[in-house]
């Protein structure tokens, strides 16, 4: 792994270690109290989940229509990250909801559409793992549908009546909350970039193994 990668890993770890201390100093929200501080990890995770889904969808489209193997590797890496960050969103959200709404879960537009989108990407990974020959193309096609869900999940809170806060909350964040929030967003984005690079390296090495097996078979 390159020196630059190691430095970025260190930076990401420091940012992540510092984030809880910064969040502890943020003002407490009036109606929700201390539990609102889950917001500083929940929303950046959701943003990363959307970006990962988008990257996966675009890479899948390139692989399907141009046939580039590098795009397939990127799609595989991004699909896994969509599932990981989606899981974080789907666990931290209910922990916040339990206190704010009094229930762990509500079948409202935002929560239901997020769960469905997450399940599509879980299905993409399962198809890759168990689908046999040609599974990459099937997974890529599913990822396109997963990516198409992203705008619906995002605007669902603005269109339908839902318990979930709307997208207008972020631009109207008070000063004491804005700085720590964007700090956490930066930490999560950096972490996403690093994990994507690491996961892609795994796919590249797997491709190297397949190439070596082909060479070994020919001999």
């Amino acid at each position: 792994m390159s020196k630059l990668y190691s430095i970025l890993v260190l930076v990401a770890m420091v940012l992540f270690a510092v984030a809880p201390a910064i969040v502890a100093r943020t003002p407490v929200e009036t109606t929700m109290g201390v539990v609102q501080k889950i917001f500083y990890y929940h929303v950046p995770s959701a943003m990363v989940m959307f970006i990962a889904a988008f990257v996966c969808g675009v890479a899948s489209a390139v692989y399907l229509f141009r046939g580039r193997p590098g795009a397939d590797r990127l799609a595989a890496a991004a699909a896994e990250l969509t599932v990981v960050f989606g899981l974080i969103v789907l666990v931290t959200g209910p922990l916040w909801a339990r206190k704010s709404w009094g229930v762990w879960w509500q079948w409202d537009a935002r929560l239901t559409s997020t769960l469905l989108m997450w399940m599509i990407f879980v299905a993409c990974l399962m198809v890759r793992r168990f689908g046999g020959p040609g599974a990459e193309k099937l997974s890529a096609a599913m990822a396109l549908f997963g990516m198409a869900n992203v705008p619906f999940v995002y605007i669902s809170v603005n269109i339908w009546r839902t318990l979930h806060p709307s997208t207008a909350v972020i631009p109207k964040l008070p000063g004491g909350m804005r700085g720590p929030f964007w700090f956490c967003v930066l930490s999560f984005m950096l972490l996403f970039g690093l994990l994507l690079a690491l996961r892609m390296r795994l796919e590249e090495r797997r491709a190297d193994v397949e190439r070596l097996y082909l060479v070994a078979d020919h001999e």
């Binding site: 501080k37 995770s45 666990v91 922990l95 994990l195 690491l198 795994l202 070596l212 070994a216």
Partner: protein, 112 residues
């Protein structure tokens, strides 16, 4: 009508009759008990026909927020660490496989 059918019909009639008799006994006893309720036992409360909201929840009924907050942050850290560990484990396995294959190929190349 055959004998079996007749027997079944009588069994049904007897069962219905017993059930009716039992029901009337139970009703009679309940009526008697109500009539004999002593004055010292308080009359049962009427069931609620409306909900009256509270302005604020008393402290002892409020759900504590700190465990949920800590659980959320802990889950994020654990999930990311587990994921990084899983990538590292898979990468190590693949690198080992590459080394084995490379050494096998170089051995066969040197033999030729």
């Amino acid at each position: 009508m055959s004998r079996v059918v007749k027997r079944k019909a009588w069994a049904c009639i007897v069962a219905i009759g017993l059930a009716a008799a039992g029901g009337s006994v139970v009703r009679a006893q309940a009526g008697g008990a109500a009539a004999q309720t002593p004055a010292t036992v308080a009359a049962p409360q009427e069931s609620a026909d409306q909900f009256v909201p509270m302005k604020s929840l008393p402290q002892e009924d409020q759900l504590p927020a700190a465990p949920l907050l800590v659980a959320a942050y802990a889950f994020v850290w654990v999930a990311l660490l587990v994921y990084v560990w899983s990538i590292w484990r898979r990468l190590t396995k693949v690198e080992r496989e590459i080394q084995q294959l490379s050494s096998r190929l170089s051995e066969s190349a040197s033999r030729h």
